[in-house]
């Protein structure tokens, strides 16, 4: 987040600034005259919505954090069919949630330019899978753009709006972590004033996808794909960026992989022509066929699925059977899982061309192996003072660690790490609630589903209704830290504040649960350990579904709030009664509890005075701060 996001509003075409890919997309929104932005936060896309939320009022943009990606697409689509320019941002798996809306929106189309940003995560830096969303372009028939750097992120938003209005189709802008989260120079363009008021022109044949209308809609969509092909053939983003001195080797690449490919060729001293694909759907068949004809060998460099390669091979089969194509389909010159690096691409290119690598990476690996023997892992952990730690301690204690814990997407997934080790099954947003029904029916074992506040609203509610209706027996623990913590503290319906900071209506989780028909619904502060344990035991006795909302604010927000007010967070203190039994560390794993020269001490820069360790110390050797702690 730039300290001063307002620099993104400067109408200063030609100015060059250093921007994160996501900030560049936000600048693209401003330049393109987009006036509706919807999102559900998800790494690596989160900073797009966060940046817009801070600029929305000044830029005359309506921005909202929607309850989930499907709703985000629907709200934006509603505006776009009325002629307003709109953008929706989400992480790759968000498009699975939104897919139902997107697939048929492709039939209906839009009138105002509409861009759907879908941010992939090769290497699963912060995701449950690394699916390649370019395949959604094939599935939906929507045009797809793939930026490689922040400059293209910005420019392609504008370009996507143009294409979208020309074709009256939504356009996918598909990024990856290394594009969203890379900073690079961006030259500003001019700002177009947004259109703020739309109009709905009733046309049931166009906008109402009943079967009778949907059949011709499909035909019309396929016609649009033909028009889109022409755009792709002539797109400035599909071009030969470099011509080698001879015709032996050509490289086709897109997205982040393109950057590695160029540097890997430099690294090897490989003189190859480069065809950069920025608009990968529809595939620029003529341009690619020409490139195939011009070269003896063509190497396709792309992360994840062989999406370009499949299409290149299909073209070669029909038009250029003599060209040799290298990629990852039969012989795997490049891996299909995880992200690329210059090294990975260079090793693949070296294998194909027979050029010797200028650095002996194996030697580096060998030497590094010697180093890594003394290295311990340092995974992210629940923060000091995190209320989830208290909730997990309570759940373990109340169930004597014998329950099964389907869990969900958020910080609280970190609960799987020892010593808490709470979390047994994790699929996707909201799945804790649905899977808990199946797990408890299949095993008869006490089952506690764990879900966060934002995730509950996103996808937990239908599964909870299902549990009531079909009488599944489990306890749903909503770990409510009053924010969407993992993605950078965005608001949600349970807070009563909108994405642009205005007061909205607060939707209480306990009221929702009651409204869904759950009979046993309780709210508790998890730092009240004894009371919470009693409550969980009681809930597990219920013959159907029960809900406990563990409510306490995210420790990071608490610390930030105190700092803002200039107040100090008083830490807990260890008294002389401490026997160094290490129970606090071994049971809670709080990063503020550390050992120095064999003695347990509290790191005062981290401790928030939450009181949890004081409550569980067998020797009552931990003292609360004077004011009674900050729980």
């Amino acid at each position: 987040m730039p300290p001063n996001p307002e620099k993104l509003l400067e109408d200063h075409a030609g100015k060059q600034v250093l921007l994160l890919g996501n900030e560049a997309i936000a600048r693209g929104v401003i330049e393109a005259g987009i006036s509706v932005v919807t999102t559900y936060p998800g790494t690596p896309a989160s900073e797009i919505g966060d940046t817009i939320s801070r600029l929305a009022a000044k830029a005359e943009i309506y921005m909202e954090y929607s309850v989930n990606e499907k709703v985000a697409v629907e709200v934006a689509a509603g505006a776009a069919v009325c002629g307003i320019r709109a953008l929706t941002a989400m992480k790759h798996v968000g498009l699975n949630v939104a897919a139902d809306a997107v697939m048929t929106l492709a039939y209906i189309g839009v009138r105002g330019g509409y861009v759907i940003v879908t941010a992939g995560d090769p290497e699963c830096y912060s995701s449950q899978n690394e699916q390649d969303n370019r395949l959604y372009a094939l599935l939906s028939n929507l045009p797809c753009l793939e930026p490689s750097n922040p400059q293209e992120c910005k420019d392609m938003v504008k370009y996507a709006v143009q294409i979208s209005e020309k074709l009256e189709l939504p356009v996918l802008l598909r990024t990856v972590t290394r594009v969203n989260h890379t900073r690079g120079p961006v030259v500003y363009g001019s700002i177009e004033k947004p259109r703020l008021e739309g109009e709905f022109l009733r046309d049931v044949r166009r906008f109402v996808a009943v079967p009778h209308h949907a059949r011709p809609m499909h035909v019309r969509l396929l016609q649009k794909v033909e028009m889109a092909k022409e755009i792709s053939e002539n797109s400035p983003y599909n071009r030969v960026v470099y011509r080698a001195s001879d015709s032996r080797i050509g490289i086709i690449s897109s997205s982040a992989a393109y950057n590695y490919a160029v540097e890997a060729a430099d690294f090897l001293g490989l003189d190859a022509s480069f065809l950069k694909i920025g608009m990968s759907h529809p595939f620029p068949e003529k341009k690619v066929t020409e490139f195939l004809k011009e070269h003896e060998k063509v190497i396709v460099v792309e992360e994840l699925e062989p999406y370009l390669e499949m299409q290149v091979k299909a073209l070669a089969l029909d038009y250029v059977p003599e060209v040799k194509i290298y990629g990852k389909m039969r012989k795997q010159y490049f891996p299909r899982a995880s992200e690329f690096s210059t090294r990975i691409v260079a090793e693949g290119l070296a294998k194909i061309t027979g050029i010797q690598l200028p650095i002996d990476f194996n030697k580096i690996d060998e030497r590094f192996n010697e180093v890594s023997q003394i290295l311990m892992r340092r995974p992210p952990v629940l923060c000091a003072g995190c209320p989830h730690r208290a909730s997990f301690y309570v759940l373990k204690k109340a169930t004597k660690s014998k329950a099964l814990f389907p869990t969900d997407i958020g910080c609280y997934a970190l609960g799987i790490a020892p010593p808490l080790s709470v979390g047994d099954l994790l699929i996707c947003m909201g799945a804790s609630v649905g899977t808990a029904g199946g797990v408890s029916r299949a095993t008869g074992v006490d089952t506690v589903a764990i879900i966060g506040d934002s995730t509950f609203f996103h996808a937990g509610i239908p599964a909870l209704v299902n549990a009531v209706y079909n009488n599944h027996k489990f306890t749903l623990a909503v770990v409510d830290n009053l924010t969407t913590a993992m993605t950078g503290h965005q608001p949600h319906p349970g807070i009563g504040k909108t994405g642009t900071g205005e007061l909205g209506k607060r939707v209480l989780i306990e009221k929702v649960a009651q409204g869904c028909g759950v009979q046993f619904v309780k709210v508790v502060n998890p730092f009240n350990v004894e009371e919470s344990i009693k409550m969980v035991k009681e809930a597990l006795e219920i013959p159907g579904p029960s809900v406990i909302v563990f409510r306490a604010p995210c420790a990071l927000l608490l610390v930030r709030e105190k700092r803002r007010k200039g107040e100090r967070l008083e830490p807990c203190k260890i008294s002389e009664a401490c026997t160094n039994c290490m129970a606090c560390i071994k049971v809670l794993g709080c990063p503020a509890l550390i050992v120095r020269e064999g003695t347990v001490i509290i790191d005062e820069t981290l401790c928030t005075g939450c009181s949890l360790c004081a409550q569980i110390c067998p020797y009552q050797a931990i003292e609360l701060p004077e004011k009674g702690g900050n729980k």
């Binding site: 290394r178 890379t182 900073r183 950057n259 650095i359 590094f368 340092r378 790490a417 290490m582």
Partner: protein, 201 residues
């Protein structure tokens, strides 16, 4: 293909992302092409954090290739160690010497023992002999805030004369990016880091 490769390594909460932004912005404001990569999410949760800064006309990739880092700024010794595969015998390592032990280590008796600073330096020397160590939090505390360790290291890197950016530019960018009420301590931290190298000579 003259690219300057700088790797920042540390633990979430040490200010890696701000340090990277300072270095990247300074490079760009001198008209240099730059790429800065970051991984979000783990940054505030005590996990290992790395940022790559690449400066030069042909710098396109967000990450550094193994064996090609010109400089490694390590805010923590174990995290410096974790990124040694990016070093060669030409790499300059500037490292804060205070080890932060991962919480998980206390839980398992069988875990590898916590290495001493001497062992860590020995391993670093397998890759490169150019190492500057500093107790960054001492200097940061002297500047007025322990959280300025990141800026202390930038001060040191500037004083070595190996960065492609001018010292004045770095200072100006710090003024631009750091909120006003923290500016004085940050500039002080920069100075203390800068003088630390001068005093070594």
């Amino acid at each position: 293909m003259n690219i300057f490769n700088l790797l920042l390594a540390g633990v979430g909460g040490q200010g890696i992302l701000l340090a990277a932004e300072v270095l990247g912005t300074a490079a760009l404001s001198e008209g240099l092409n730059v790429r800065v990569s970051e991984i979000h999410g783990a940054a505030q949760r005590g996990g290992a954090v790395v940022s790559n800064i690449r400066i030069g006309e042909r710098a396109l990739a967000p990450t550094i290739t193994e064996g090609t880092a010109d400089m490694i700024l390590g805010l923590e010794p174990l995290e410096t160690l974790r990124n040694l595969k990016f070093a060669s015998d030409k790499t300059l390592v500037i490292m804060s010497s205070e080890i932060i032990i991962p919480t998980g280590v206390y839980l398992k008796a069988s875990e590898v023992p916590i290495p001493t600073l001497e062992t860590i330096l020995e391993k670093i020397r397998l890759f490169t002999g150019n190492v500057i160590t500093v107790k960054a939090s001492d200097l940061a505390r002297k500047a007025g805030n322990i959280l300025t360790r990141n800026i202390v290291l930038i001060g040191i890197s500037a004083a070595t004369g190996k960065l492609p950016m001018k010292t004045e530019t770095l200072k100006r960018v710090i003024e631009e990016l750091v909120p006003a009420r923290y500016l004085e301590v940050n500039l002080k931290a920069f100075e203390l880091g800068y003088d630390y190298v001068k005093s070594m000579r």
